[in-house]
Symmetry: C2
Subunit: 454 residues, 2 copies
């Protein structure tokens, strides 16, 4: 591997510039901004490693697919990544242009720098380096690039159904992952993640009048924001327990093994609180109970609430309509459609029939087999690159669309990548540590080489 | 009066163009938009009736003051109006430019067309007409034009304290007022209003993290929107009763006389529901109980709620902060500062010490003496102009700053003007019926002439 590592080090500026180029191209799926342009950049880039990518149209944004045969047509590794990004809002909280890709203090700042362009490129650049050094790939490689991950992968299943051969593989390197920050005490370990929570994204909508009205009418005209407040108040209690009827019915209790895994994790609670500016965690949790809630418990998050006048100063207005966006992270064996039905039934039972529940996206939770060859290989490869054993997570607290490719096809997927716990993904000032990006390239190269001969 | 009416009819185009000119100049106090420019236009216009207006600086926007001596220096009439307007947002719901002053089907559409530029100009144009016909004003006239009414008149009291002589008067014609719409059954009566509700405008602010976060953190990090929801849920019950501790303690029960006045009002319930697009009123109220709640009961309105991602599509974000704007309309003998203290105590008592309560503005309720000479004169003048007896309201459901001029000075104020129940004040597509504007000019002229000799 040394020759490959040396090559990567020698070409680091080239890889950084490539990441800047990608980050400067907005590709916000929620706002339909720059999607085709970004896909074009990716197709061009795949050409540089001799891959003639196919732009697979779906009912939404296209999925890009490319493959390269390896030396002896043996084992296959697949990389799932996404080229879309979250919206950059709130813009006023960014210290530099979200699509400027400015480098400050060893970090590159941009919407998508970590999620997911950094991890995406780390794998493509790894292949570039291997090909430059060895002339050929050590195994078959498949790249699948989605353009709708940030809006819940609504059309990924179309691809899985239409091209069952293309999702066949021996190991899925999924999307990306995090690394703990280095401290004066030592190097932060890479995080290897074997599963994800599911996600149900809904909007609760209420309209009580044809338009916003003078608030003098508030004495006699129903206020849709008050309706939503009163409905929401029935959905969670003061201890953060979700009180949607039946919400926990299908939640599988963590196994002894899963609980044991939590004990091996080093979650830097104080640093996390400081970084996020928190007084404390919910219910002042700490230690294993904190980790158990973080990784194994479902959520019901208010992601957005909009009603009436939200500008500066005072406007005495009675909103005509109001909207709440909620994301509910699900754990085995919850399913989006079952939870959606439970939300509807919960509201109906309490008379909130005037509140519309609109499903925006749904994704079931998924967990890979921790003992499979690919997972074990990834875990084994981390130490040579990072100098410290990785931390292994049974499930991320986040969500990706693993289920759609892996569940029916019986595949396993492993997440690892170029981010870290302070990357601010989905938040203002998203960034990637340049050194992590370079190490992620080395890690991806190592996994390819080692998995070929495992 | 006939000569004056004829003059007004002959000059209607001039008066309409003047209103268009005023409406095309934005003057949004909440957004500090066009305030000085609007004040300049007004000063110029006062010059045309020989008034050299004074621009009285305050700690906020200037108050314009002008006076004209009458024929025999007898009785004085004062006109309080405001030259600022509400924000035009939400812009996407306007059918024409809010500052375009487009005329369609006999209505002029603009932010401020009714509230308050139409009523303001009706009085100035009335004086123009009287002067043109008679050469001199029949009584002393004072004009007081405020530029911060729409943000709660925070500096009007400065003017009242600094210039006690200027607010001295025999009758205050306040701001403006409404008229019921004509129907096939007959002419809608002018509404004469003798009081207003108070207003406490506050923001409830909660910040739990330094910025918006990835919503995977929602399992362990407090959500400020959930905090506000849970706090708000303690402040109102399902029957719309406000449950802020002690909220109704100082609410004066309507007198027999006040209840009797409600019986004389013709509130077109079905037309109002249709116009506003309502299924029904709160608690399905109708008749006297509906009017009693509308005019005599306080409110606690959510005027705005902003948290997290409020754009199109899905963004899985945990908001770092959230804000609720509330306007609470107060009735005798509630006071803004007492209610503010009660909100704070209510939240503290329930552990919501992390929610900041910020007072944006406050205005006590006020009611004039229904038997005073000026009120009786205004009521008497309406029928000759409109052909039908006016409806008399003990209190408006809305708010203006009457208290600041009238309470300490022992003055009475009466509201009447050029609006109607479908003017959409504070809402998209605000408009004024051209004919109402012309009639309001005649009404103001009549009041001046009749009050001079009453």
């Amino acid at each position: 591997m040394k020759q490959v590592y040396d090559y990567i080090d020698a070409h680091r500026e080239e890889y950084i510039e490539l990441l800047q180029k990608f980050c400067r191209q907005p590709s916000v799926s929620a706002q339909n901004l720059g999607i085709r342009e970004m896909a074009g950049l990716l197709v061009d880039e795949l050409k540089t490693v001799g891959i003639d990518a196919e732009v697979c149209e779906t009912d939404g944004n296209p999925i890009l697919y490319g493959e390269l045969k390896g030396e002896n047509d043996g084992r296959t590794i697949s990389f799932y990544n996404h080229y879309d990004v979250q919206p950059a809002e709130p813009l006023e909280e960014w210290l530099s242009d979200p699509f400027g890709a400015e480098i400050r203090d060893g970090k590159l700042y941009a919407r998508g720098a970590t999620d997911n362009k950094g991890s995406l490129l780390s794998r493509l650049c790894a292949l570039k380096a291997i090909l430059a050094v060895n002339g050929k790939a050590p195994l078959n490689v498949k790249f699948i690039y989605e353009g709708e991950e940030e809006i819940g992968s609504p059309h990924l299943h179309q691809f899985a159904e239409q091209y069952p051969d293309r999702i066949k593989t021996d190991g899925f390197a999924w999307e990306g992952g995090s690394k703990q920050l280095d401290t004066p005490e030592g190097v932060g370990p890479l995080e290897v993640c074997l599963g994800v929570k599911g996600l149900l994204y809904i909007e609760l909508r209420c309209r009580t009048a044809v338009s916003d009205l003078h608030s003098a009418n508030a004495a006699v005209v129903k206020n849709p924001a008050w309706r939503l407040v009163q409905a929401l108040a029935t959905m969670k209690d003061a201890t953060d327990r979700i009180t949607i009827d039946g919400y926990y019915d299908t939640v599988r209790k963590p196994s002894e093994y899963e609980m044991k895994c939590l004990e091996t994790l080093r979650y830097p609670e104080e640093a996390a609180k400081e970084r996020m500016g928190l007084d404390g965690f919910i219910n002042d949790l700490t230690g294993i109970p904190l980790l158990e809630k973080f990784y194994y418990q479902p959520t019901a998050n208010i992601a957005g609430f909009k009603a009436g006048y939200i500008g500066e100063g005072a406007k005495t207005v009675l909103p005509g309509s109001a909207v709440v966006k909620m994301d509910l992270r699900l754990v085995p064996d919850q399913t989006p459609d079952d939870i959606l039905a439970k939300v509807r039934a919960h509201l109906d039972r309490r008379g909130f029939t005037d509140i519309e529940v609109v499903k925006i996206s749904g994704e079931p939770p998924f967990r890979a087999d921790p003992d499979c060859l690919f997972a074990q290989t990834v875990i084994r490869c981390a130490e040579p690159v990072y100098g410290v054993r990785p931390e292994v997570f049974i499930s991320s607290a986040g969500t990706t669309a693993m289920y759609q490719f892996c569940h029916d096809a019986g595949l396993d997927a492993v997440m690892f990548g170029a981010g870290n716990e302070a990357s601010n993904i989905h938040a203002p000032n998203e960034n990637i540590i340049i050194e992590d990006y370079i190490n992620a390239i080395k890690m991806a190269a190592t996994v390819m080489v080692e998995f070929a001969k495992a």
